[in-house]
Symmetry: C2
Subunit: 113 residues, 2 copies
DNA sequence: TTATTATACATTGGCCGCCGATGTATTGTC
DNA sequence: GACAATACATCGGCGGCCAATGTATAATAA
């Protein structure tokens, strides 16, 4: 299913943090994993991901360790304690928000809910 | 709970269409109703709503009948058949999208889901 | 051998959606 | 007569996402 781009706005950081909850990962890997896990629903672009990762690093939500792996230089991102806290907040926020949207739809058009 | 503004992006039209599923309504009323139904989670601004309504009218998703009611001039918006179709599409899209986000979160951080 | 694809990271201009600010006008209330 | 609430409207600006583009290396195919 084709998803309107604007729906994604605001949830991309949540998706990135979720990916990192499992353990450290590098950027390219995160894009591939997210596409695979979501049946290509979420095809995150480099122009979206890398600036987000840089911001998370700048604000202390992730740490980076650049090293060789599989014959490649890769930048591995890992959640800090603060980053874990941000993830928990974002998950709460998402559940609250999506629940409210569902409530409104169910309330006004129950036959579609 | 305070919701990050950007989360709303892309779902505002869905909310507006949902409100109109019940029957014709005027702008100011829709803002009040939405706030009440969502416990003030969705405090839609005039600067958001009116341009959306104008666009929906322009594209044939709603029709407008301006008339007096309660000692006020009001512009009542009503869903067309095309508008009803758009609502159904948007609901499907929303359910698909929110389900996928939930899947990803549950998959990578099941303890938070 | 060379061309092509995949991997990996990065930046930037621009588009689009939302909203704060502001404006106008009328009705109800103190 | 002043003020709040109702009701509609517009516009500049901000912020998030991404298409386009660039660099570099490794693997694969021709």
């Amino acid at each position: 299913m084709k998803i309107d781009k604007s729906l994604l706005t605001g949830s991309t950081t949540l998706l990135v943090l979720s990916l990192l909850a499992e353990g450290e990962k590098y950027g390219y890997q995160m894009i591939q994993e997210l596409a695979a896990k979501s049946d290509n629903t979420f095809q995150m672009k480099e122009g979206t991901l890398y600036p987000i990762l840089h911001g998370l690093e700048r604000d202390g939500y992730v740490t980076v360790s650049q090293r060789w792996s599989g014959g490649r230089q890769r930048r591995y991102y890992r959640l800090t304690g603060k980053g874990r806290g941000l993830l928990e907040d974002k998950v709460k926020e998402w559940k609250f928000f999506s629940g409210k949207v569902g409530d409104v739809v169910a309330s006004y058009c129950p036959e579609l809910a």
